[in-house]
Amino acid sequence: MTGWLGAWLLLCAAGVLVTLGAALWRVWRGPARADRMMAAQLVGTGGVAVLMLLAPAQGWAALDVALVLAILAALAAVGFVKASTPDGAGDPEEADAPHDPPLDPPLDLATDSARSDRDVA
């Protein structure tokens, strides 16, 4: 597809890539592990969006890649959750699983960065 519509689709795809750059910044900063993993999941979802925008402009075969990415990107999140259980094979929802400490005292945005030293896996 040539012309203005193709250029517009590619421009939108570039815009999504810019937001993925912001996600990579979040992976760098953290501070918690869940922050980094959620940002990586955003890269996966954003990648699906980029491919769907590329498909009409470049070729419909990109939708196949988008399908595979959409199905498998969550696999890393499952692996992360599993690896952070005490024996590496559990489920955080199980009755005896350790839970995040409750937010007590209430969340104070000015000192939120101090939470990183209580950070759990």
């Binding site: 918690a32 592990r33 470049q58 070729g59 419909w60 939708l63 030293d117 950070d119």
Partner: protein, 120 residues
């Protein structure tokens, strides 16, 4: 949904991705030599492989027209073999860590003791 429609890369794409691949290979070589934690070395090794594949894929896309399928086939093979090599490598790293208590090679110093929560 998809047919065998031609999927031609843009004219500038090979140059851009070849240079990107070259940069990645250089970064990976630096990482492989400079990093000491073995799991990070495995990541560096994978970055080198991936950079080489991008460089090779750019070669396949050169010259306009249909991309050359032979490099693409070799790259697919390479990606799968790189995964299997990484799996073997990380299993070795885990076995070494269980035996020595640290994921560094014996001649390269000791790993600092683990703090109670060092999640980064």
């Amino acid at each position: 949904m998809t047919g065998a429609d031609p999927f031609l890369p843009a004219a500038h794409a090979p140059d851009v991705y070849a240079l990107g691949g070259a940069v990645l290979v250089g970064l990976g070589v630096w990482g492989l030599l400079a990093l000491r934690h073995l799991l990070r070395r495995v990541v560096a090794f994978n970055v080198i492989g991936s950079g080489i594949f991008l460089f090779f894929g750019a070669i396949a896309a050169r010259g306009g027209g249909e991309p050359d399928p032979v490099p693409q086939a070799l790259i697919i093979t390479g990606i799968v073999v790189a995964l299997s090599a990484s799996a073997l490598a990380v299993t070795l790293v885990a076995a070494l860590a269980q035996r020595r208590g640290g994921a560094v090679l014996p001649g390269e110093g000791r790993q600092p003791p683990e703090a109670e929560t060092d999640a980064k």
